[in-house]
Point group: C2
Chain length 232, copies 2
DNA sequence: ATGATAGTTCGGTATACACCGAACCATTGA
DNA sequence: TCAATGGTTCGGTGTATACCGAACTATCAT
């Protein structure tokens, strides 16, 4: 009885085409915004919101509010496993699903991209790691960083507009942003944005025309080695 | 696209409470009649028929027509696996589902029971094995047996009403019946029925009041050893 | 043949729910 | 403060489908 209902309920959640499309996208293991998922499912934001709420309620998805975005991801490996076995049943290969595979396989995107207004991917992680390893940045709480005195000096030296970043009073200064291709936090918030601006202003990096991919220039690579002590 | 639709379709099939109840029952690995499944799902025979047809169409179930019954079972281990992982998601233990567990755990029922009008379970298998090993019975086609001349003599010796069995012209004479607790064929049809009758008439076995369980008597055990060369 | 049982097909009803428009709340940046 | 953006809540509409009654086919027993 109970066990049967539980089975039908979770299966029914996956049984809707829009929800299945969302789950399919989430099978890449990354977190996606509600808008992103709405687009993937081909429904409006309202409809998507309803779907996402129900799946989160049923513990199929986990949510993390970040700024004005809400990131949804699969709640556990068990969920991914169940979806995978259903996909296998349908005679289709599970993991290399067309859309998410394109993401995963794009090495440039994994290497460096914008995440909102700051840097993500391997470069974003490398920058953050460098700052923490040199004692410029310390974790503060579970969602923020603290910029140390040595960190302030470092920023001034490499030309990060700290003053501008501090003027944005309504914005979080140094935020931890989870990177879902690297599965580790990188720096965001006003400071993260200012750091990214520095990269673009100094010609260390440049945005590609389409998408979120960012190209690290030769001088950018040199700066990574020279200023951050990181080889990427 | 295609992969997404396939996911939602198979999930939707499992997402209906009635179908989930049927699948749950079928998780015991045995084959069940349409009526049986309708009862388990709490729906009428018509409704159940529709559900079963759709699941068979989608290759979730396999069907085997046997007499006027149609036996449905899970089409593959993959199907069971998918159901299991969904049940796990729902936080419920998968295998020991209340109803089927009762079946499985009843050693008397596994030992000997009626299957329609003939003997099944370990005793049914033992009788059939004895007949084939002594050359009394030979497989004929994929669904029937052939009673050899020595088999006729054997039947006459132990008192099986062969004449009566042969009179039932409209009925299959010696049929292979799949035994889903033993996963091997045993003898059914008119001959199987006649053999079972012999067991009851001679006091070798007796039906219990409720259910399909059959008790093998002491003289029945002696007969199994003496006449069939089998120890059960 | 006749009646009984297992199963399916067909038609109509009723309920569940996915969907969107509109309004609303929260966060952000000027 | 205000405007912009991301997300959610609410109400009404439309479609999909589960359900059953009734009629039908196939198998089996007398």
């Amino acid at each position: 009885m109970t066990t049967v209902n539980a089975l039908s309920e979770v299966a029914a959640l996956m049984g809707d085409p829009a929800r299945a499309a969302m789950l399919s996208l989430l099978m890449d293991g990354r977190a996606h915004t509600a808008s992103d998922l709405a687009l993937a499912a081909g429904v409006t934001a309202q409809t998507a919101s309803g779907h996402l709420g129900r799946m989160a309620e049923a513990n199929l998805l986990a949510v993390r509010a970040q700024g004005r975005n809400r990131f949804y991801r699969l709640a556990s490996g068990d969920v991914a496993h169940a979806i995978e076995s259903l996909m296998a049943l349908a005679g289709t290969r599970a993991q290399p699903a067309s859309r998410s595979a394109a993401w995963r396989r794009d090495p440039d995107l994994r290497f460096c991209r914008t995440c909102y207004d700051h840097l993500a991917g391997q470069v974003g992680i490398a920058v953050t790691d460098s700052l923490t390893q040199h004692g410029h940045l310390e974790p503060k709480g579970s969602h923020d960083w603290k910029l140390t005195p040595s960190g302030e000096l470092f920023c001034m030296r490499v030309g990060v507009d700290l003053g501008g970043a501090r003027q944005a009073t309504t914005r979080h200064f140094a935020r931890q942003c989870l990177d879902w291709s690297e599965r580790r936090p990188h720096i965001s918030g006003a400071l993260g944005s200012a750091i990214a601006d520095t990269f673009f202003k100094k010609g260390w990096a440049e945005k590609l025309r389409r998408g979120r991919t960012v190209r690290l220039t030769d001088s950018g690579r040199r700066a990574m080695t020279r200023d951050f002590g990181a080889s990427v």
